[in-house]
């Protein structure tokens, strides 16, 4: 059952080959069986079976949608009413959300079955899922390797087929990088395409929810249910959502693909370069034209990102003060003690590091030199993309410099960890949509191809990915879970 796509499962459910309850139970069994991957923080077994029952009734009534009865799971950054929502932090280990995130509401409304809440880097700050209070997620392809982050649980759950599809969020690569490390497909839509309401904020101007699955088609189906204007999110965009599945099979003849010369340099890992070249050749065969593009300001993306993201997070995380919800230290002596110990005891090292960096960057006397400068750089980077996308339809790049590294390998060196996101970060600064699609294996570990598109051009990205998946089978390969 777990090898089927969403469309195939929907068909089976309608044909009564099995029920959603049976399907859900099957996935719940797999979740238990592979608990060692540490992909889930919370499994909501009873709620899932209950939802599956409702889905079966809905399917029987002929009123079902594609996702009705499909077992999926949410990154634990999305608030789920009456269910623990931790954001991967000790700070929220006791937090039962009193409301649903908009995308959770939307997926509930179509009858998708939520299996539980997925592991993630603490407050989405990390590139390896090692900063989670609940421990690292293991890469299903090699349990010594990281799953990537911050949506590590989301990626590993799909790769290990513990859920048909999952939600994720991406602030600097948090959907695409773990998707690449775990050999699955993930899409970070245009900023504003998916509501942020109820998605616990890390860096508000960069955070964007998206979908993760084994294929572009499944990503399209899940994204379809998530996307759209939300009056509760002022930064969500009031534009119609196209049918993401309608264009999946459009021929690629004449598609113009840009390769940024700044990304395809001699520094690029030779295996990675070879893998990408093979993928690019497939696209040539499909009739695409390849062009070199230049984006001279890309080199500033990492410092600009860490200033902006840290500045925003330093403010966004102020609400975790031990007063109204979340962790509170024992026997605070006074107000200051309450603040410093609650925050000091409940935030992990990486979160503290970014809060400190952000606080510094926003401080009087430093604001202009850091925050304002970073915003200027951000505009330059957006301009670079805009110019490039005037000449080409999509831009290709690596997702990561290397395949998944080992657990513990980079944890002690934050700068090295930050560099793992070098190919993904600039896209968030520009607010563009981008995908990661499985493009090969290096030493038995998956690597991805990044496809970047113009604003609100998600349908084209999905089309570009789907066309590739029609002629290759990297996305169909599964790890041997032993």
């Amino acid at each position: 059952m777990h090898n089927k796509t969403i469309s195939e499962l929907a068909q089976s459910l309608r044909a009564k080959e099995f029920s959603s309850v049976e399907l859900t139970q099957h996935f719940l069994n797999r979740v238990k069986q592979h608990a060692d991957l540490n992909a889930f923080i919370t499994v909501t077994e009873d709620l899932a079976l209950h939802a599956a029952q409702a889905a079966d009734a809905r399917i029987a009534s002929g009123n079902a949608e594609l996702l009705t009865g499909i077992p999926m799971a949410h990154k634990d950054i999305f608030c789920t009413q009456d269910v623990k929502t931790t954001c991967g932090s000790k700070m929220l280990d006791n937090f039962i959300a009193p409301y649903n995130a908009t995308i959770v509401e939307k997926l509930n409304a179509v009858g998708a079955v939520n299996l539980g809440k997925l592991n993630m880097d603490e407050f989405a700050m990390g590139s390896s899922n090692e900063t989670s209070f609940y421990g690292a997620v293991k890469n299903p392809w090699n349990k010594n390797a990281v799953s990537g982050g911050s949506s590590g649980g989301s990626a590993a759950a799909v790769a290990a087929q513990l859920a048909v599809c999952t939600t994720g969020s991406d602030t600097g690569g948090s959907i695409r990088q773990p998707a690449a490390f775990c050999g699955i497909t993930g899409i970070k839509p245009t900023y504003g395409r998916v509501s942020r309401y109820g998605m616990i904020a890390y860096a508000s101007s960069l955070d964007q929810g998206g979908s993760m699955a084994r294929s572009a088609e499944d990503c399209a189906i899940l994204l379809q249910a998530m996307a759209g204007f939300d009056a509760k999110d002022s930064t969500s965009v009031d534009a119609p959502v196209p049918d993401y599945c309608a264009d999946l099979n459009k021929p690629l003849a004449g598609l113009k693909i840009g390769l940024p010369k700044e990304f395809f340099t001699a520094d690029l890992n030779a295996d990675m370069a070879a893998t990408l070249e093979t993928a690019i050749n497939e696209y040539k065969k499909l009739g695409a034209e390849i062009k070199e593009v230049s984006m001279p300001n890309l080199k500033y993306a990492i410092p600009a990102y860490y200033v902006i993201a840290s500045a925003e997070c330093s403010s966004n995380l102020s609400r975790f003060d031990g007063v109204r919800f979340g962790y509170r230290c024992e026997n605070p002596a006074d107000l200051n003690d309450l603040y410093t110990r609650s925050r000091g005891e409940a935030f992990g090292k990486e979160v503290k590091r970014r809060i400190l960096m952000g606080t510094y960057a926003l401080s009087a006397g430093y604001y202009d030199a850091y925050y304002l400068k970073a915003q200027q750089v951000r505009r330059l980077i957006s301009e670079d993309f805009k110019n490039a996308l005037n000449d080409v339809d999509v831009i290709f790049s690596p997702v990561t410099p290397t395949p998944a590294f080992n657990i513990g390998e980079k944890l002690a060196n934050p700068i090295e960890m930050y560099l793992a996101d070098i190919y993904t970060i600039a896209i968030n600064l520009a607010g563009l949509p981008a995908m990661s699609i499985p493009a090969g294996l290096i030493n038995g570990l998956p690597v991805g191809l990044q496809v970047i598109g113009n604003y609100f051009d998600e349908a084209r990205l999905l089309n570009v990915a789907h066309a590739y998946q029609n002629v290759t089978d990297w996305h169909k390969q599964s790890p041997n879970l032993g």
Partner: protein
């Protein structure tokens, strides 16, 4: 020392905008609800929630800007002011910093007959914090977040005021204006209109400002004057004793009538302002401006002028009658309904009605006598159905019942007697009974005339027409 000191004052006024819901959420803003019953997930600053701007708050800010002839920013930006406090749920207040919605404007005030122009530097939108409750919690602190997220307009003046009196005049003028505009209920007890004062002194003639102290949260006109005067004395004392005024925030204690230090400049927060990434910039279109301008109510100054010219009212009456929009509307309605001369309407409103409202501590909007019933009273006085004196009796009945003036006059038999035959008969009886007094009057004791008027009125239970009585008495006593 004989240094002449000059006082320099600037005010920051927080006016709570009279919107139904909060500035960034749909929670209600009504005052006085049970703690935390008007605190939605957004008011509580729950993880994942986002602010959505209340358009009505923007409209009210723009209306204010137009009324003080300020520039309305076509593009303004919300920023986060970061600091930790238990009643500040998000750890930051959403405010406006570099790009406020209302730019430079002004307000003319009158002090001792002189008009003075006070500059308004800016006015910006922001959200209020909640309240910390220190009583009844056994040494702990309770947090009520009902007020968190209530829209405020912070109106910052130039340091243009030179005395506590001017500061009070400015504050009163602003208070009157926001109520006129209907953008703030002005209720100072409930904190809908609060004031911080920046106060400094300098030797007369010196160009540079002295070091200022900010006095926080002064919530009445009386306290503004007292707090400023107190602070001025304190600063002069400090300087004259060889000390230096330090820049700091001080709190006014109305019980002890003193200000005391809250925190110095060194202890001041670095608020780390930055544009709020959750909110889009606010664009005020020309269409919106035109729409609001067209709907702008007549402002106090224009109304005062119109009352003086159109209704031919004197300064005093016109000032009282335009002191609030409700008062002015009441007056105009009474004139319209009664069809009487504006002077008599004005007299009875500024006299009897105002006094009664003051005694009962009521606003005109809560008057037990509505315009229609009041007009009924004025009309009967104007057409001589009742005398002014009886009018006061009728007023009492109006105040305490829901009957009309005509019903009261009828029921109580208060109708004025103008029938000359009836008056003559009574006068004849009285003259016959008081021959001695009549002789005295004829002998030149003019005071006796009043005695007879009184006797006649008494006999007629006050209902005799005074003009007729005078005329007939004069004739009979000649």
């Amino acid at each position: 020392m004989n240094t002449q000191w000059e006082v320099v004052i600037g005010l920051e006024i927080h006016a709570q905008l009279a919107t139904k819901t909060k500035i960034f959420s749909g929670a209600a803003t009504a005052y006085g609800a049970e703690p935390n019953t008007q605190a939605c997930v957004i008011s509580l600053g729950m993880p994942g929630v986002l602010p959505v701007l209340n358009e009505d708050a923007v409209r009210k800010a723009v209306i204010f800007g137009m009324a003080i002839k300020a520039e309305i920013a076509p593009y303004s930006v919300f920023a986060r002011k970061n600091y930790f406090y238990p009643d500040l749920p998000k750890g930051y207040q959403i405010s406006q910093f570099e790009l406020p919605i209302v730019g430079k404007g002004f307000l003319d005030i009158e002090v001792e007959g002189e008009t003075k122009r006070i500059g308004v530097t800016r006015a910006h939108l922001e959200e209020d914090a909640g309240k910390s409750l220190h009583e009844n919690f056994h040494g702990l602190t309770g947090i009520d977040l009902n007020r968190a997220g209530t829209p405020l307009l912070e109106i910052v003046s130039e340091p243009d005021m030179r005395s506590a009196k001017e500061a009070v005049a400015y504050m009163r003028k602003l208070h009157e204006l926001v109520r006129y505009l209907g953008i703030c209920d002005g209720n100072m007890q409930e904190g809908s209109f609060r004031c911080d004062a920046n106060v400094s002194v300098r030797p007369k003639g010196q160009v540079e400002f002295g070091t200022r102290a900010e006095i926080k949260n002064i919530n009445s006109f009386k306290f503004v004057e007292k707090a400023i005067n107190h602070e001025v004395e304190r600063q002069i004392d400090v300087i004259e004793n060889g000390g230096k005024v330090v820049q700091e925030t001080r709190l006014y204690d109305s019980d002890k009538d003193e200000t005391r230090s809250m925190r110095s400049k060194e202890e001041a927060n670095d608020y780390r302002y930055f544009p709020d990434p959750d909110l889009l910039p606010v664009f005020v279109s020309d269409e919106l401006k035109a729409e609001l301008k067209a709907a702008l109510p007549e402002l106090p100054e224009a109304k005062l002028l119109r009352f003086k010219t159109d209704y031919k009212l004197n300064d005093e009456s016109a000032t009282i009658l335009t002191s609030s929009r409700d008062m002015a509307d009441y007056f105009e309605n009474v004139v319209k309904i009664s069809g009487c001369e504006s002077a008599i309407c004005a007299n009875w409103i500024t006299g009897e009605l105002s006094a009664a409202l003051n005694r009962a501590d009521l606003e005109i909007s809560a008057s037990p006598i509505n315009e229609e019933r009041f007009a009924g009273l004025v009309a009967r006085i104007a057409d001589d159905t009742i005398s002014g004196k009886i009018g006061k009796q009728v007023f009492e009945f109006l105040w305490n019942s829901s009957e009309s003036a005509d019903e009261i006059i009828e029921k109580q038999g208060l109708k004025q007697i103008t029938d000359t035959g009836a008056i003559e008969a009574i006068i004849d009886t009285i003259l016959a009974a008081n021959e001695k007094q009549a002789e005295q009057y004829r002998g030149g004791n003019e005071k006796m005339f009043g005695f007879f008027v009184g006797q006649v009125m008494k006999a007629m239970q006050g209902k005799g027409n005074p003009a007729e009585i005078n005329k007939i008495l004069k004739a009979k006593l000649a």
